[in-house]
Amino acid sequence: MTHTSDLAPDLPPDLAPAHEALEEASFLRDTVRAFRRNRMAMVGLAFVVALVVCAVFAPWISPHDPYRVALDEQLLGPSRTYWLGTDNFGRDVLTRILYGARISLVVGIVPSLISLAIGAVMGILSGYLGGRTDFVVMRLADMMIAFPSLLLAMVVMYTLGANLLNIFLALALVGWASVARVVRSQTLALREKEFIEAARANGTSRSRIMFGHIFPNVIPTLIVLFSLSIPEAIMWESSLSFLGVGVQPPEASWGLLVAKGKEYMFQAPTVAIAPGIAILLTVLAFNFIGDGLRDALDPSMKD
């Protein structure tokens, strides 16, 4: 590990080459370089990129109209025309999945990011400042966690109306509290570390300590939480959709496709299984990316 061990510290320091560029440390560049060396992470990234492209260009690349009902073609098995068969309305499953990706990806990522951002800030403030801030934030989080989250999300959806923006809001509201708890406990541990004390001894400001010192050290946790929360958000969305307060048919989301498709499990298994596999692959891809990022962000893994 120590590739710097060629130094004899008690000898007169040898002089460095005359004008060595003292480049400003670039954490980002290092991270990108380390990430690109991770094969699984790159595969995951490629999958997600491909998925995003498909979702964006769904109207152009999908073979059929996602909303066209053909009652004479219900629940067909996979064929050359319908690669993944048709659903109970005779709609092409592949097309529905491509369109569903648009909603599911956004629903998976955006609320997770929002709840991570809120949770991280709240957790760090609560853990580092302690006292009254800690009390208020944690009681708020307790309330969020104690309240049945599905009910909470449903209340939001009912009162504000079932649209995408409100799904984000509902999911973020449900999600930030657990993030804040994890980040807070990590902050409590970090606060006692000598390097934090050293920063205080140097007169470093509190905000710089919280967001310059503690934040980088909770990033790996945030990444793990992120890769875990994407599938969770997709599932949440499907629950809400299933209960009729989420995405409204005939719009398609993966969760909704699985929920509706499972009724026809025995006649046409692909209707439920294909979007299920799409969820599975996406979640795996995000997990690979998450692992890769976590390692890439760890300075001791960069050698």
Binding site: S5, L7, A8, P9, D10, L11
Partner: protein, 334 residues
Amino acid sequence: MADNILSVRGLTTEFSGGRGDVRVLDDLSFDVGRGRIVGLVGESGSGKSMTALSLMGLVPQPQGRVTARSILLDGTEISRLGPAGMRALRGRDIAMVFQEPMTSLNPVRKVWEQVGEPLAIHHGLGRRAIRARVLEMFEMVGIPDPKTRLDAYPHQLSGGLRQRAMIAMGLICEPKLLIADEPTTALDVTTQAQILRLMRELRDRVGTSIIMITHDLGIIAEMCDEVNVMYAGQIVEQADVFDLFEKPSHPYTRGLLASIPRATEPRAGRRMPSIPGMVPNLAKLPPGCRFSPRCAEAMPICRRPPDLATLDGGHVARCWLHAAPDTRPMGETA
């Protein structure tokens, strides 16, 4: 030298990792006489703790690979034993006391259950018999008020008492050999003095043979009969304790002895003698003598690896300064 409880020949431990194999122990040979205390002293990375793990069969598998020409424990060859054989040996014939009395006891189990565990494993004793035996051991290691301590949980004992309990656990099956790996490093000086005295008394009373692993030459001087000085995975000097302190022969030992601060001598000057540089990375050892880059007495010949050279009276040093003239390669001069 017939009466050795442990006789190690050619102990070598290697780790395979992402960047090839690293040899952390290189051809170690030493003996532990019956009822003797033998020291292994060295700095971090010297391999002293790895020696203990290798003898105990506790080197992580499969990355680690331990080989030896021979390891005789009380006359029995143990270097060819498999994992099951080593398991049967551990706690019964060889026991170990670790550095951290805090973390080497399970916090949720009562002390007597843990201290008595080797008896349950190796002798299948019942709870009542174990409890009685643990009580005896607690008395032997000088735990005050032993009856009430039996049912204590580890956090209810001070560091010193915990380490006494660990020693009791180590000795409960009357092992042939006790390996103590920095047993007092985590303790305060006054507690350390008590634990060291206890170990010395146990040796005198019960005749326990002990391998004492430490970085502290003070502890070596207080405790040991013989000493092995380790550097970068090798034994560089081996001697009777009095010889070692009177006539340190390897430049590393001399440097180490010079650089330890002494509480008994007034300050000599503003600067203390020190060894320049630092312990080499085992993956990138210098060619030849591993100490030569830091050695004030390095010579051209030190680019070749020196063998252990015998001085007088069993005193051995791995240094070209002491190599007999005929063992030196032709044409090289000191």
